[in-house]
Amino acid sequence: MLIYLIAAPVVGGLLAGWDRRISARMQSRRGPPIFQPFYDVRKLWQKQSIVVRRSQNFYILFFLLLVIFTGALFFAGSDLLLVIFALTLAAIFFVLGAYKASSPYSFIGAERELILMMAYEPMILLTAIGMYMVTKSFYVHDIASHATLLVLALPGVFLGFLYTLEIKFRKSPFDLSSSHHAHQELVRGITTEFSGRALALIEIAHWYENVFLLGWVYLFFASSPLLGVAVSLLVFVLVILTDNVFARLKWQTALRSAWVVAAVLGFGNILVLSLLR
């Protein structure tokens, strides 16, 4: 857990650096140096704090704290459901901060972020339930020390989880709430009115979050650690690939498709498991 607290931002930052490098290569560009995200955050930290509403940055601080808390719970081996609830609480602070900023662009970003949360929540819960059905425990340390490869029993859940991972990484085709590239109708969406340190905190929170999510991917392959790490990295590359290949979806399509995936792949997998029992 301590390792996570210290190492996660480093790993997360490096991943973000790689992300920009790989994306650039896919677009036939050279891309920035691998440490660019760290430079960005350092620069942001030195900027003046500009806000629209005086309390908006407090929400961001608690967003970061709760994301760190979520990851710490996960890597400390706690109850998976509790981890999900902590993650939800964190995300809600983020959304409320954007509402508080009271600008049309951050408002629409907040609404869309909520829609995305609504889209991924069922699948994430079903993932936890699926893991429980195989290992008989919601505790991460029990799941991690399970003897068999979870993915063999939970192929549908795994695929569904990958689908929601795209949403959680805020990548195309699901970068509805805050795109990395400014779009006319969205500007920067949920982060439009955050600047300086608040934006730096959001970046760091995303690093923590990404490491935690890849940790969850690893859980599917936990009985063979090397494979797990390899698949996690592969998943990361896959997410970058889809980001570059797909255009943005409308929110209706995003929501519908995520629920259909959860119902068919996630629930279908659980249905089969409970029939086999």
Partner: protein
């Protein structure tokens, strides 16, 4: 024993007295005194070691039964008159069927209808009594100030019938106490019918055509439940020769299944599950204290109380599965319907329907773990939902609107009420507050018992998240320069609002105590084993609670070290950021509006699906019980 009797009779007596009090000051004194007495009474009862020894009622049984029969006949005749006057043959038919059945039953079996214990107090009834006394008492206090403003400022056109209103409020409360303490099914039935009648009268309080129509609808649906209840009593007495609730729960499943199914049906009608949810939504026409009372401490809670009581009798059967399905479907449909509406009370109503669905789901599954989770839900839901209703009531009087869109910037307009509302909403769905703990417990119970039912919970709860957060966001965002509205609250209103806000927090902090003192002993006594959250998890919840409590502290730095600018609007800002000059040189107003998914979901369509689906499920349940 005397205490239990006093809890039932004092509110009813006070209610009858309040019916003749026209003087506002005297009413205040009486309401305050009775509420305080009931509050202390329930606390005193809760402090006793349980189960409280339920002695014999110190009245002559013969006369008591005769008195009750007369009350029942009186109520029956009144309902028939109502049915004839409003030309609703269904009401007359249902009442005649149910009244005739009970009359025949009492006349033929009269002397044999003896119960060893007419009343009993166990931990479950204690919990319900606490909710009724504390939350219900708070509502009565709140109603004092609210109803004055209602008649003198907001709704001058409505005839002032406050004596009747307060009389009904207290009779309702007394009947609810009777309902949770009754062991004799005949008594339980009497109190059940009193709550039905009181709710009918309260919903129709304003006497507008809409109120009358909705009140009649509530009456029809609850009478259908009452008929099922009467059938259950007759059937059970016929087969088991007993009219005791405790006997019913502990008898063999083959003997108890049919009456348990009938009682579950009665519970489903009373707790407004689909296909009967329309009566609770219609009940929104009544003044806010009525909605709060129906939604949080009485009425619907009576329904889920009965379903949870029946849980041991239906667990593992097809009937139980069908009850669980009704609850599950209602949870999903209710949560989605709450997304589509922007009327605050309607959102609350749908959310109540949905959460009750979750409790019914627990009752239908009926394992110890599920019942434990269901009881937690009852407690936390009562407190938080009551708080929300009372807040919406205040806001409605101050803003003259109950549209959520009109509540934009409430945190500046009415800061105290807005904060209390945020506490209430957080209490309804956020970690680490009570409702979320309970939902978590439900999820675990469901996964253990029948994992497939968990699909209802995962989809329903993500919809819940959406409509609560967007409402919270609406309260927080501030677009225009807002003027502060004077936030004067009557004494009773303040007591109720502050008390309930504190209770929302305290219920979470003392959640382990509530669980170990009341809920676990009950589950242990019924199932022989009990459930609880692990010690480590409690620690984590506490840490999360500390996070949430620390958040307001960050406002110490409010406005320090930041530069305030206008929001980015994609054009040149004018008038302090409430408008901007658009591309054609026109000034555009900024207008923020939440998503309601009107193109994607449709309230009426959802309802239709739910009604049809749940009716089929109920039909299967009836078939399963009889075969």
């Amino acid at each position: 024993m005397t205490l239990v009797l006093a809890l039932i009779l004092v509110p009813i007596g006070a209610g009858l007295m309040l019916g003749c009090v026209r003087l506002d000051t005297l009413r205040k004194v009486v309401v305050g005194a009775v509420t305080l007495a009931v509050f202390c009474g329930t606390l005193a009862l809760a402090a006793r070691p349980t189960p409280v020894d339920s002695g014999v009622v110190p009245f002559n049984h013969h006369w008591l039964n005769l008195g009750m029969l007369l009350v029942e006949i009186g109520m029956g005749l009144y309902v028939i008159v109502v049915g004839v006057r409003s030309r609703r043959p269904l009401i007359v038919a249902l009442m005649l069927a149910q009244g005739g059945l009970m009359l025949w039953f009492e006349l033929t079996q009269g002397p044999r209808l003896e119960a060893a214990h007419d009343l009993f107090v166990d931990n479950f009834s204690l919990i319900m009594a606490l909710i009724n006394g504390v939350v219900g008492g708070g509502i009565c206090l709140y109603a004092l100030g609210y109803m004055r403003e209602y008649h003198e400022v907001a709704h001058r056109d409505v005839p002032d019938r406050r004596p009747l209103f307060f009389a009904l409020l207290f009779i309702f409360m007394g009947a609810m106490f009777g309902l949770v303490f009754a062991n004799n099914l005949m008594w339980l039935f009497l109190f059940w019918e009193i709550t039905t009648l009181c709710s009918f009268l309260l919903i129709g309080y304003t006497q507008t055509p809409e109120a009358r129509r909705n009140a009649l609808r509530a009456l029809v649906m609850n009478l259908a439940g009452g008929l099922a209840f009467a059938l259950a009593i007759v059937w059970f007495h016929d087969n088991a020769d007993s009219i005791e609730l405790q006997t019913l729960i502990t008898s063999k499943q083959s003997l108890a299944l049919v009456p348990a199914a009938l009682l579950c049906f009665a519970g489903i009608t009373k707790s407004a599950q689909l296909p009967f949810s329309s009566w609770l939504l219609g009940a929104m026409v009544a003044p806010t204290p009525v909605s709060a009372l129906l939604h949080s401490s009485t009425m619907v809670k009576a329904g889920v109380y009965l379903v949870l009581r029946m849980a041991p009798a239906v667990t593992g059967t097809t009937v139980g599965l069908m009850v669980a399905l009704v609850g599950g479907v209602t949870f999903v449909i209710g949560s989605m319907a709450a997304i589509t509406t922007s009327e605050a009370k309607r959102v609350l109503a749908w959310s109540t329907v949905a959460n009750l669905g979750l409790i019914v789901l627990c009752g239908g599954i009926g394992t110890g773990e599920a019942v434990w989770a269901g009881m937690l839900l009852i407690v936390f839901h009562a407190v938080a939902k009551c708080l929300l209703f009372l807040c919406v009531g205040v806001v409605e009087h101050k803003l003259h609107s109950r549209d959520i869109e009109a509540m934009s910037g409430l945190i500046v307009n009415l800061p105290r009420v807005a904060v209390m509302m945020l506490v209430g909403m957080a209490g309804m769905f956020l970690a680490p507050f009570g409702m979320l703990i309970s939902k978590w417990a439900v999820l675990k119970a469901v996964v253990d018992a029948s994992p497939l039912l968990s699909v209802f919970i995962v989809f329903g709860s993500s919809a819940t998240l959406f409509f609560w957060v967007k409402w919270m966001g609406k309260l927080l965002e501030v677009v225009e320069p807002q003027r502060r509205i004077e936030e004067k609250l009557a004494l009773g209103e303040s007591i109720a609002l502050y008390g309930l806000s504190a209770a929302t927090f305290l219920a979470c902090l003392f959640f382990p105590l509530i669980s170990s003192r009341f809920i676990e002993p009950y589950v242990l006594s019924v199932y022989g084993q009990t459930a609880s959250l692990g010690q480590g998890n409690l620690l984590i919840m506490t840490i999360m609670m500390i996070f949430v409590l620390l958040f307001p502290l960050s406002f110490v730095w409010y406005g320090r070290g930041v530069k305030v600018v206008d929001a980015y609007l994609g054009g040149a800002n004018v008038r302090g950021g409430v408008g901007f000059t658009g591309s054609a040189g026109q000034v555009q107003e900024v207008n923020l509006h939440n998503y309601y998914f009107r193109g994607l979901l449709d309230e009426a369509g959802l309802c239709r699906c739910g009604v049809i689906g749940c009716s089929i499920v109920l039909a299967v349940m009836a078939a399963a019980a009889l075969v």
